[in-house]
């Protein structure tokens, strides 16, 4: 099940020529009702990205579920007392040793990244539209999202 979804995820922007791939750049096919602000590029990109997000949520939920099952089967989180990894390096190391909490944390991190991905793609759409005001707007939002990770890490 997990492998199936992963395959779709990888296939979406890939070379299959299926609808999702070229949608962002292709000529508008069905322009019945243009999205607010007139950004057709933006609307199509958003539609594609929200599908990718949906798949992203399914994949991360699957990873979380695998970790949870592993936890239930083994009856141990893989960490002493009530500990769990709170850094990317810690999570990666734990996944290497197949510790249940590290696998769950990976799924949760993937989940947190899905909205960040949406903003990143929005930025690309505004660049394609040459809308410099909104490139700044989206760039700022993306910067805040990335910064928040480091702010917590810095001990603040």
């Amino acid at each position: 099940m997990g492998a199936d979804e992963r395959g779709q995820d990888a296939g979406a922007p890939g070379p299959t020529g299926a609808p999702p791939g070229p949608a962002g750049v292709a000529a508008p096919a069905g322009r019945e009702h243009v999205a607010p602000g007139g950004g057709d590029h933006l609307f199509r990109m958003e539609l594609v990205i929200s599908r990718v997000l949906q798949i992203g949520v399914l994949v991360s939920a699957a990873v979380v579920a695998i970790g949870l099952l592993l936890l239930l089967i083994r009856g141990h989180s893989g960490y002493p007392r009530q500990g769990f990894p709170t850094t990317l390096a810690g999570v990666a190391a734990g996944v290497g040793q197949a510790r249940p909490y590290a696998i769950i944390a990976t799924g949760l991190l993937l989940l947190i990244l899905t909205p960040v991905l949406r903003v990143a793609v929005g930025l690309v759409a505004f660049v394609l539209e040459r809308d410099s005001t909104f490139v700044t707007v989206t760039g700022y939002v993306l910067a805040v999202l990335i910064l928040s990770f480091f702010l917590g890490r810095s001990g603040w």
Binding site: G37, S60, L71, F84, T86, L111, T114, F134, F149
Partner: protein
């Protein structure tokens, strides 16, 4: 053994929170936090972390619907995210530095407020005589959508952009401070200050919730508030519950359900206040 039962109980409760969150239209997070804190004795920060993760799961999962309905105004959403994400980071920062009691108190107040605004009827579906704020013109925020009930295209202007931004900062701050989606406050800002049609406010708000939540989730994760043992069953449960809830929504009369839930929500708000003031040793 105990782990198994705890995981299953957390998951069952989260499925219910997801179902009722969708049916009541107030989101799963705000229901989850008192349940986790009062019933399961989960520490406040850990309850907030689990709630925040579930908020991201439901909003990212439903994003397709909000984009496809063409009612969400993506430009307005993106622009307001400047304020919601900034507020969210500030809120998360404050959450790390104030006494936990304050978080429970603020949560109690926010829950009581959300309960009352859940009952409120919107005076006008489509505001009349709105004139665009100069910023709205510059940013090309005005838009249109097809209203299926009125069976016509609705064009709308966007007023009070600075006030709207201010309100979004507050909404974002509450999201980061408490680990909730704070959709109520986002809709309020777009409704009252920017005077958008109600459908546009609610749809655009849903569109923004995931990005707002992600802005404090990184901070939460680094702080160790996202405990895998709690967050995993909660996120999966809410995701399943929200999917069930959206299906059920079509068949149920939500107003009656809301009335039934008012005493429950108010009791939860009081419990959180008491916990915050240290009256209850939760």
């Amino acid at each position: 053994m105990t782990t198994t039962w705890l995981v299953l109980a957390l998951m069952a409760v989260s499925v219910l929170a997801g179902v009722f969150g969708a049916l009541l239209g107030i989101g799963g997070g705000i229901l989850l936090i008192p349940v986790l804190h009062i019933l399961f004795r989960v520490p406040t920060h850990t309850a907030m972390g689990a709630s925040l993760v579930s908020v991201i799961a439901t909003s990212s999962g439903a994003a397709v619907a909000y984009v496809r309905d063409k009612i969400s105004n993506i430009r307005i959403g993106m622009f307001l995210e400047i304020a919601t994400t900034t507020g969210a980071v500030c809120g998360a920062f404050i959450a790390a530095h104030v006494a936990v009691g304050w978080l429970n108190i603020i949560f109690g107040i926010v829950l009581a407020f959300s309960t009352f605004s859940m009952l409120q009827k919107h005076a006008t579906e489509l505001p009349e005589g709105v004139r665009s704020h100069p910023w709205a013109r510059r940013l090309r925020l005005a838009g249109s959508y097809h209203d299926t009930r009125l069976d016509r295209d609705v064009n709308y202007e966007v007023a009070g952009v600075p006030q709207g931004l201010g309100m979004m900062y507050v909404a974002g701050m509450l999201s980061g401070l408490l680990g909730i989606g704070s959709g109520t406050f986002k809709v309020l800002g777009m409704d009252v200050f920017m005077r958008l049609p109600f459908k546009v406010s609610s749809s655009t708000s849903n569109f923004m919730i995931g990005v707002t939540a992600a802005a404090s989730a990184g901070y939460y994760f680094a702080k160790g508030w996202i405990d895998p043992g709690v967050s995993a069953p909660v996120a999966l449960g809410v995701l399943i519950g929200a999917m069930l809830g959206t299906r059920l929504m079509v068949r149920m009369r939500s107003h009656t359900l809301r009335l039934v839930f008012v005493p429950v929500l108010l009791a939860a708000a009081v419990e959180m206040l008491l916990s915050g003031f240290g009256v209850r040793g939760v």
